[in-house]
Symmetry: C2
Subunit: 403 residues, 2 copies
């Protein structure tokens, strides 16, 4: 039996980041950049007006006699055009937001501070300082500059910047091919009414949804019976994936054949039990490049094991540098009892209040009670050998959803 | 000019939740349930063993003479089978985790606390209390019970529960059809090298990514020139969507024709300016059932306006009850200056430390500087008329990404 920390370390030591692929930036949000993104232009690409108004020589508007002053309008530039004429003393160019500043001008007077006059003249009602309402060329970034670093997770902002610098396609780390196999003679399809002793197979659905939340996709490879032949057939198919998730069949019971079948097929297993609750029976191994998780069969144990070990593995494959969910320190709102043996991960409700976090465990009947976990948004960590925690105790909480 | 709160209220008053559609639960994660999900079974569906071990009569193991006691093993049940024989005094049934408890038995002794003997007998090394290691029928939920309420957002846990109760298909609120039109003579395609006075069109990319993050999809309808004909053609196409996003062309400038074209096409506009920075020029209207946002053209203003107004609108259409991003109170780490007029939304970095939140504004050159926003994960709210905020000040921060 390994500790949670040890299991985490072993899993990630044996996971490699996947090869690089090129995708259109339209499909890249949520993926990790696999190259430094270098700009081919200055941004802004020219001294740019930040306002609708008049490009002027600041000194003209700050004359000792004070404003208002009258200037001659020599040209009009809108965004997308380029000014042809140089602004000389006593002159102005009418200019729109985003348009290039004409030569000679060193400030822009907002249109609200002007009054148009007859004969291509304008009255400037308020003086402007040099540089006012101008975004100078290259202020945001320059040609040749690395604007987004390799391994950055691409959010909408980064996607927009990539568009600005002309990177229609971009190198990202690949998304793993993931297979899910569920096992157990008691399992029937969702569309069936369970007979006596049976339950519906639900793990492949919740796991595929967890995979989706991790920005990847999983193929559900069906349910294997608790016999060698059925397991061998299913697992052989699964071993062609980058990552294979199997649920059930990893406890001590005699019908729990997954471990022996994995060994028989040549999967190198690194551990077979973790000192945690729920989720003690969990195996992890490698078969050539394929990572294999034998997850516990109970739905909550499957859910928790995925969050703690599989999700970080998927993220490492996809090039993420932050692998684990964020852990937040919070105050306990209701007292909590634990069996006090293994480290425990308890479904809990975490919420902010006045800049601090509070948490309470939700009512929950154990590792089969998936409905109980729907009342929570997080997993409260009860350290090993702790049997009770009082109200107000500071605890660590893994944020698994939105707050 | 309306206030931010007023604009938010007007937008949401004019947005309706979309019709219900039925989807397979494999496609339902992240969507909102549009019906109460009622269970057709008890869960567990029978008194179930929570352990591998022996189903016993507790009293037999707690005999006054104390353990060990020897019992006769009358049957073996694995998960998926149903026990045939009733356990009588002095008897036990070998049982696997998840299997149904045989009649007569009222507790399960863990396999670790037993020792198999010759002749179908077992030695019970440790007494068990009545009910021990049994999950009673209906403990988690009962047939006829609403297990997931209408409007619940379906996470992996909920998807698993829906599978358990046989809901292969489920009613959810529809996802809006969204169109994006960008406008501006200065815009060129990402694949082009901008000529003098031009920039690449990036808003449709960042907006489509924001839509994707909101669990919806957008069609990019191209870039319209700053002329009536081009705008009318593009907008007419966009008005067939549930939601139309237009960027640019909503300022005071003479080439900003979007507002007049929208009016000409019969779009009912509710406001044309919001007292905020960035994002002052923003219009919102309705055309029959189509909601129309005229967003500012500057990339950061577009980004912020989406987060504040468009995302909640999309979420309302999709049946969400929590519409806005979470606002967190945090302590300011670096002093902050503002122009002190309109309410300001400043790109910022929010991070937890010891159960409290700290925030600092990132270096940022204004509403065109999208690269600046990539350094943040949140938007710090500077209230109107505030010109400076000292270190340690408590501020409100909109969490737009992961912490």
């Amino acid at each position: 039996m390994v500790s949670v920390d040890e299991a985490y370390r072993i899993v990630l030591e044996n996971i490699s980041t996947l090869p690089i692929q090129e995708v259109n930036i339209k499909e890249a949000v949520g993926l990790c950049l696999a190259e430094d993104a270098v700009s081919d232009i200055d941004m802004p690409p020219f001294d740019k007006s930040a306002m609708d108004g008049y490009a002027v020589i600041a000194e003209d508007t700050l004359s000792p006699s004070g404003t208002p002053v009258e200037l001659q309008v020599i040209e009009e530039v809108t965004a997308g055009q380029f000014p042809m004429k140089k602004v000389e003393r006593g002159q102005a160019t009418k200019i729109m937001t985003g348009a290039a500043l004409p030569q000679g001008a060193d400030a822009v007077t907002k249109v609200e501070d002007t009054e148009p006059l007859e004969g291509n003249r304008v009255k400037i009602l308020k003086g402007v300082e040099k540089g006012k309402n101008i975004s100078p060329r290259g202020e945001d970034f320059q040609a040749g500059q690395v604007v987004i670093k390799r391994t950055t997770v691409l959010r909408p902002q980064e996607i927009g910047v990539l568009a600005m610098i002309g990177m229609e396609k971009v190198k990202v780390y690949s998304t793993p091919k993931i297979g899910i196999i569920t096992t157990g003679n008691e399992l029937v399809e969702v569309s069936c009414k369970p007979a006596r002793g049976q339950i519906r197979e639900s793990n492949s659905y919740s796991l595929a949804a967890q995979v989706f939340q991790a920005r990847a996709e999983a193929e559900r490879l069906g349910t294997a019976r608790d016999d060698r032949k059925s397991l061998i057939t299913a697992i052989k198919r699964g071993l062609k994936k980058d990552l294979l998730l199997i649920t059930g069949g990893v406890s001590m019971g005699e019908s729990d054949l997954v471990v022996s079948v994995l060994k028989e097929l040549g999967v190198n297993l690194f551990f077979e039990k973790i000192a945690m609750r729920p989720g003690k029976p969990m195996v992890f191994g490698k078969y050539y490049k394929t990572a294999v998780f034998g997850l516990p069969g109970n739905p909550v144990a499957t859910y928790v094991s995925f969050e703690l070990f599989v999700r970080p593995a998927i993220r490492k494959m996809m090039g993420f540098t932050k692998l684990s969910r964020t852990v937040i320190k919070a105050r306990l709102e209701t007292p909590l009892r634990s069996k006090g043996e293994r480290k425990e991960f308890r479904p809990a409700w975490l919420h902010p209040e006045d800049g601090k976090f509070f948490v309470s465990a939700v009512e929950w009947h154990g590792s089969a009670d998936l409905l109980g976990t729907t009342k929570g948004n997080s997993l409260l960590i009860v350290p090993e050998s702790v049997e009770s925690l009082p109200v107000g105790q500071e605890v660590e909480v893994i944020l698994t959803g939105e707050i």
